[in-house]
Amino acid sequence: MNENLNTTSAPEAAPRQEPPGFWGGLISLAVMVFVLVIALMGANWLPGTLDKGLIRQYPDLESARRELGFKKLHMPTYFPESVSWPASRILGQTTPHQAFIAEFKSASNGTPLLVVSQSAKPMPPVFDSLRMRQAIESSTMDLRGRRAEIVTGRCASQEPCSMLSWQEGQYHMRLLMLGPPFTLLHMAESMIGFEPPKNPQIAPKTPASLQPAVK
């Protein structure tokens, strides 16, 4: 079939190189992996410099409010004594949508106690430390003309915790705190005015993938 055999001439003998031993090769690999790690870190840093709207940490509320461009950043004016001020961690983003999250620690033992979030869309859990893992009871209530959802359940280490969420204008508001829901209600009321909203909006249903498991 192949009349004109495209013969391949034998390659010239390459100088023999003994392969390195395990440890010698491991050092070379370690150097290459180090370079890879640096490259990955650089690749992680680059989007943040090109797009300032990606989620990042802010030093305080004022810088977050200024840089995120929120029309209004709702924060409680009532804090129980158990909550330490200022916020221990503040995160914010404008890409892919506006969001602001603040974590507050316990004044007594410094463990995470309260998370306040405000976002254009419901968000997945932010902090590993304070997250409702199991919802026990869920109900809706009126929060000064707004339809709010209140969920009681358990967070990490089976501690009881409560979550209150509602729609405030274009933003989805959420408060999550260790303990019973009564303090949350006072804090939520301090975040909103006494007047009911002119155009009350029903909070969008939180997608199933973002909801804690219901017992």
Partner: protein, 355 residues
């Protein structure tokens, strides 16, 4: 933004991390082959399999270890948060996520056209042929032919020959393997595996190849049959099918398959102790690229794709021939299980921090 909500779901994270983890695994694997100067095909194949296994097994394993890996705060501390790239806008025209979806779509289409559809067609053809053969033998009551016909007609159905009728194959352990003669003047040589393995050889090969070349070529096929008893490649292919959208797995699996050919070449050399005959047998099997270039065919996408495939196949065959013709066959390992475990450990640890 196109389906960015999907990226927050488990399936979205799994898909994205599949791509990212395979990229990192590929870099680590290639680095290790360089670092230890690993040339033995079996060892190279073993390390490349990490690239195919890691993306599939990684995400579920990591979620078991830490279900909060998807949380925003974990991502802030990760080595690489892939979502940060996917959300990026390119001059306001499209997002990286949109471009990624296009790449995924093209890869899936390639898989469908090059692998899935031919595989399904082949299975259907085999099923139909077996049914027809069963019907014919039932109708005629004849026993299947055991000897090649003395004056067979071209295009007549293949017939099983006993390997003793091919003296060139003396010395090869062909018990339990049927050698099937295909009445074709061209070069046809392939094997089927399973409970009744067969090696199909065409009349053209038997007439044109020297005895040593024929023996080496059959020994190579025998290598495939023996390797199929530990179906590592089959398992790897199933994992590759699960990642039909992943272009890196597509490329790496082809490299794994290329190493499989070299492993069978080495097995053939072990059986025949004659690398030069195997090299010249492979040389004969190479397509005539000059003939393909000058053929007066309509240049369309399909023929161009066929040409590219043929050229790529020819390059592979040339690579195998060059390897066999090296003055000292390079079968030194440069690696073993410690190297493999090191590569696996590095990939597992690094990928945990890539979300």
């Amino acid at each position: 933004m196109l389906m960015t909500g999907f990226l927050d779901t488990y399936w979205g994270m799994y898909l994205v991390q599949c791509l990212g983890h395979s990229m990192v695994a590929a870099v680590v694997a290639d680095s290790s082959l360089l670092a230890w100067r690993i040339t033995e095909p079996a060892m190279k194949q073993r390390i490349r399999l990490v690239i195919i296994i890691a993306p599939v097994a990684g995400f579920p394993l990591y979620q078991l270890i830490n279900s909060e890996r998807g949380s925003v705060y974990f991502r802030l501390g990760a080595l690489l948060d892939l979502k940060r790239w996917l959300y990026m806008d390119v001059f306001g025209f499209f997002t990286i996520w949109g471009a990624t979806l296009v790449i995924i779509g093209v890869t899936a289409l390639i898989f469908l056209i090059q692998e899935a559809i031919p595989m399904i067609m082949h299975m259907l053809d085999t099923f139909r042929a077996n049914r027809a053969a069963a019907r014919n033998s039932k109708a005629s009551g004849d026993a299947p032919a055991l000897e090649a016909k003395s004056d067979p007609e071209p295009g007549s159905p293949p017939a099983v020959v006993h390997h003793s009728q091919l003296p060139a194959l003396e010395g090869l352990e062909l018990e339990g393997v049927d050698v099937v003669l295909v009445e074709d003047d061209g070069y046809v040589l392939f094997s089927t595996t399973g409970r009744s393995p067969e090696i199909y050889i065409s009349r053209g090969i038997i007439d044109d190849f020297s005895g040593a070349e024929l023996k080496a070529a059959v020994a190579h096929e025998l290598g495939h049959i023996r390797r199929s008893r530990k179906p590592v490649l089959t398992a790897a292919y199933l994992l590759r099918v699960l990642q039909f959208f992943n272009p890196i797995t597509l490329i790496e699996f082809r490299k794994v398959a290329q190493e499989e050919e070299k492993i069978c070449d080495d097995m053939a050399i072990a059986m025949t102790a004659d690398p030069s005959s195997l090299a010249s047998a492979i040389e004969r099997m190479r397509p005539d690229m000059e003939e393909m270039k000058t053929e007066d065919v309509d240049k369309n996408l399909m023929t161009m794709a066929v040409s590219i495939e043929a050229y790529s196949h020819d390059m592979l065959l040339r690579g195998r021939v060059n390897r066999l013709r090296r003055p000292v066959p390079d079968t030194r390992s440069g690696g073993g299980w410690p190297q493999f475990i090191t590569v696996l450990a590095v990939v597992v640890v690094l990928n945990y921090f890539i979300v």
